[in-house]
């Protein structure tokens, strides 16, 4: 049995002099396994060509489509309409990021900045000879690095974070996870002192108040809290040295 869905979407164009923030309601027929991606595509094609939102992969892997869905930050392409019992779904752009228009926010610039702040690349003095055998890595160690490499930069943990709202320069769980990822990777020769330089302050690992929403909402189920705690222990030890 199909039912009617009511989608309420936030609309606002900060670049327009006349635009005012408001909600627009759209009604559509639900289909089996319908996602918010499918809804928004239909709305744009049939009801409101001007509605702005972001999707790329529509498969839950690229991190483009995070938005507030009934108050919770989620990947819209992976959100099924059937999970909303009354069929009413309210969509808002994520806070904490620069608003572009309607449901679209600028996660790209935030994450590029984060990557630069934590120097999110392998630091290594060696010149690699790419014709020669690769460095051997213990299989479990490679697997563990992969576990921490799975962040898709969707920004959900950032939008979930109360600390971030109070402290705009806070690096967020994702930034701290990134430091843990490189600390774990044997290719990266940075020491714990080096990481202390990058995130050993209140905008970094000491700013976290352990409210846990980041980990609860992360679509990749990344171990954010345990990694933040781990980094904190490492860096506290460093501080007290």
């Amino acid at each position: 049995m199909s039912r009617k869905l009511t989608i309420k979407a936030f609309k606002y164009n900060p670049l327009s002099k006349i635009s005012k923030p408001h909600f627009v309601t759209y009604e559509l027929e639900e289909t089996p396994f319908m996602t918010v991606f499918v809804c928004l595509t239909l709305i744009r094609e049939k009801m409101d060509a001007d509605l702005s939102f972001d999707f790329v992969c529509r498969a839950g892997i690229c991190g483009s489509c995070a938005m507030m869905i009934n108050g919770v930050p989620k990947l819209a392409c992976k959100t099924l309409t059937k999970d909303y019992e009354d069929g009413v779904i309210e969509l808002m752009p994520m806070p904490a990021f620069r608003h572009i228009k309607d449901l679209s926010v600028n996660t790209g610039e935030w994450f590029e900045d984060m990557c630069k702040r934590v120097e999110s690349w392998v630091h290594n003095e060696k010149e690699t000879d790419i014709s020669a055998l690769e460095e051997r890595i213990e299989p479990e160690v490679a697997d563990e690095t992969f576990e921490l490499d799975r962040c898709i930069e969707c920004g959900i943990c950032v939008a979930s974070c109360a600390t971030k709202l109070m402290r705009p320069n806070f690096i967020g769980a994702t930034g701290l996870l990134r430091t843990a990822r490189y600390l774990q990777d044997p290719h990266d020769h940075r020491s714990i002192e080096d990481f202390y330089e990058l995130v050993g302050d209140d905008d970094g690992v000491f700013g976290c108040m352990s409210l846990l929403a980041c980990e609860d909402n992360c679509p990749k189920n990344l171990p954010l809290q345990s990694k933040i705690a781990y980094m904190r222990r490492q860096l506290v030890a460093q501080k007290n040295k």
Binding site: N13, L15, S16, P32, F33, T35, R44, K46, A49, D50, S52, F55, V56, C57, R58, A59, G60, I61, C62, S64, K78, L80, I100, K101, S104, N106, T107, G108, E109, F111, E112, C115, K116, E119, S120, W121, V122, T128, I130, S131, A132, L133, E134, E135, R136, I137, E138, P139, A142, D143, T145, F146, D149, R150, I152, E153, Y182, D185, H187, D188
Partner: protein, 663 residues
């Protein structure tokens, strides 16, 4: 008037564009990279299965080398590829994987000792060598002699893309996202850069450089059923076409992948079958061994896709509201394997279809149907990556027809191509930017800028008759109904006619929101859809004219591969103001091939109209090989005598492997 200068300009921030940009940055030049989306969201992130490179570390990869990788690639291409390029590629691929490893890409590694794998639906124990422990592992993929596909669970592309993007940030590549290239600036001979539109504030900016590279990925979204991301609309290739100079080649060579899930079209990686998963029909019967006794589910993609459709046509499909489909069964691999190595596949099945593929029996089977997957065709280039028709324009990755895939690319060869081409072409590109360019006539740039502004203004001002979304959806349906896996002359003719009419209609659409100075999704469609239609027309028209079947291009009315008449590449170009592309052909020279055309080893035998030159060339090749082997020459020397190819020394160096060293 906003004009931005840099030494090099790269359009597209997938694996290809980013890797090429790094090569330029390493040469000490400034490089600007534009992308529609944040670069880490590029479609390259979707690569699940992995990347081919003949490291030969694992037990099932033992004895692998560039020669085998080259041979598989040429066969896979159904002899449509440029063999010199395939050689350049196979030689550089191991270096690309190793470089990525050094950049922190966490490739799955070999663990010494016995391990259980599923081969041909049977649990089998293989023993990994002590000396391979800790080196990069590889899995099996379709159409390859050895297990050669390096991987990271089923998130290979994600890790590769992040590794490369982070390295680009480190090398200070100037990345500008939400910036769409909409026009190539040129003076009729030389490319000067592009006009781009800022997708946040609508501003038009001219990006000028000594050299410009297009790495904008594929054009899958011209099809209704596709595994491609929603941004894979082929507009990068289209703006090259619109110069009227550049050629798009082999556009009819469109790959269909056997196992996207129904109905969303999200891909379940070939790794599913590579790791031992099987296909079943409505009766739960495993049908592939009946059609392809030797390679079964792991014949090349075009073959498996056609066999599946053939089986469905025999009434063996499973009925569903979305049409008939078949089943993919990976539960036979065991829950532990699925949960570790096919985690994203499991997640996709659960989220989008409510199925846990690790569940045994029909409960865990996933509904699958072949869909559009990859664009073998693209902007034609020389082996250096430069366009033959427009100086200073390079192309790389899926957007290009560098032509190592011919008419069918092998799984795992595409993300390998992106990074390998990023290295090789990136280096040629960097050299070009160093040695060329300089004085740009700003009058030309200004002219292009104002013309573009006028064009966009005319789009919003026009009180047109048509709705752009309806045109777009109709195009997708036509492509899916008439230019897909099975093609006929009649259907293709209808498709071309209807697409041409749609193209004309697309000049007369109505855009409701009139604002030019902000994100305006309808306006964006209004300028993209005519470009997509041009791409669609190149595909359909090329397919109509190619009266043979080769690789993924399958003509029911011409089921044979015709080496006598069709050893050639289709080159399409577009004359401004016309409503159809023009076509010319480029011959492939059998007498220069290291591997002259022969049977592919899968699909129906005897389905070739032979070219007598094949036999002649084969005799030559055999004679040279026999003589040189008798003289004790190395495989490198023999290769060089058969088909010499150019490649930068740093990439041409031999690759070290365990057991054989640099042999």
């Amino acid at each position: 008037m906003n004009i931005q200068y840099s030494d090099a300009l790269v359009i597209g921030g997938g694996l290809a564009g980013l890797r090429a940009a790094i090569e330029v940055a390493k040469s000490g030049q400034s490089v600007t990279l534009l992308s529609i989306c944040p670069v880490k969201r590029s479609h390259s992130a979707a690569v699940q299965g992995g990347m081919q490179a003949s490291l030969g570390n694992g037990a099932k990869g033992e004895g692998d080398n560039e020669d085998l990788h080259f041979a598989d690639t040429v066969k896979g291409s159904d002899w449509g590829c440029d063999q010199e390029v395939a050689r350049m590629f196979a030689q550089t691929a191991p270096k690309a994987v190793r470089e990525l490893a050094a950049w922190g890409v966490p490739w799955t590694r070999v663990t010494k000792g016995p391990r259980t794998v599923v081969i041909n639906a049977q649990k089998t124990v293989i023993e990994e060598k002590e000396e391979a422990h800790g080196l990069i592992n590889a899995r099996d993929f379709g159409g390859t002699k050895k297990w050669r596909t390096c991987y990271i669970a089923d998130a290979t592309g994600h890790c590769m893309l992040y590794g490369v993007a982070n390295e680009a940030i480190k090398h200070q590549v100037k990345i500008i996202d939400r910036m769409e290239a909409v026009r190539i600036i040129h003076d009729g001979k030389k490319c000067l850069g592009v006009i781009a539109r800022d997708l946040i504030n609508g501003q038009l900016i001219a990006y000028i450089a000594r050299g410009t590279m297009i790495a904008t990925g594929g054009y899958g979204r011209i099809y209704k059923q596709t595994t491609n991301a929603v941004i894979c609309e082929g507009t990068g290739a289209a703006i090259a076409l619109e110069t009227g100079l550049c050629r798009l080649s082999n556009m009819e060579a469109v790959q269909f992948h056997p196992t996207p899930i129904v109905p969303s079209g999200i891909l379940l990686t070939e790794g599913c079958r590579g790791d031992g998963g099987i296909l079943r029909d409505v009766d739960g019967y495993r049908f592939m061994p009946d059609y392809e006794p030797e390679k079964k589910e792991l014949a090349s993609r075009d073959v498996v896709s056609r066999r599946m459709m053939e089986h469905i046509r025999k009434g063996k499909g499973v009925k569903s509201p979305y049409g008939d489909h078949l089943w993919l069964d990976i539960s036979i691999l065991g829950r532990a394997h699925v949960e570790k190595n096919l985690r994203d596949v499991q997640d996709i099945c659960k989220t989008f279809n409510g199925i846990d593929p690790a569940d045994e029996g029909p409960k865990g089977w996933a509904p699958v149907l072949p869909m559009q997957h990859y664009s073998m065709g693209g902007i034609r280039t020389k082996p250096t990556g430069e366009s033959q028709w427009l100086d200073g324009l390079f192309a790389c990755g899926e957007a290009a027809c560098w032509d190592m895939h011919g008419f069918n690319r092998l799984g795992g060869n595409s993300c390998a191509e992106t990074v390998v081409a990023g290295m090789i072409i990136g280096d040629y590109f960097a050299q070009y930017c160093k040695n060329n360019g300089e004085v740009v006539d700003t009058n030309i740039v200004k002219e292009f800028l104002s013309k573009e502004y006028q064009y966009l203004k005319s789009l919003v001002d026009k009180e047109g008759k048509y709705n752009v979304f309806e045109i777009k959806n109709r195009m997708k349906e036509i492509m899916w109904d008439k230019v897909a896996i099975f093609r006929t002359g009649e259907g293709l003719k209808e498709a071309v006619d209807e697409l041409e009419k749609l193209y004309k209609d697309s000049q007369d659409v109505k855009v409701h929101c009139k604002e030019l100075d902000c994100a305006n999704p309808e306006l964006e469609e209004a300028y993209r859809v005519p470009r997509m239609l041009k791409i669609a027309l190149c595909v359909a028209y090329g397919a109509l004219l190619r009266t043979e079947s080769r690789g993924a291009h399958y003509r029911e009315d011409y089921p044979k591969r015709d080496d006598l008449n069709w050893m050639k590449r289709t080159n399409t170009y577009w004359v401004e103001g016309e409503t159809l592309p023009r076509v010319e052909y480029e011959e492939l020279d059998i007498m220069k091939m290291e591997m002259p055309p022969a049977f592919r080893g899968y699909g129906a035998k005897g389905n070739i109209i032979e070219n007598p030159l094949s036999e002649k060339r084969q005799a030559e090749v055999d004679a040279i090989r026999e003589k040189m082997e008798a003289e004790g020459k190395s495989r490198y020397e023999i290769q060089d005598a058969l088909m010499p190819y150019e490649l930068q020394a740093k990439f041409k160096k031999p690759n070290q492997r365990i057991g054989v060293d640099y042999e």
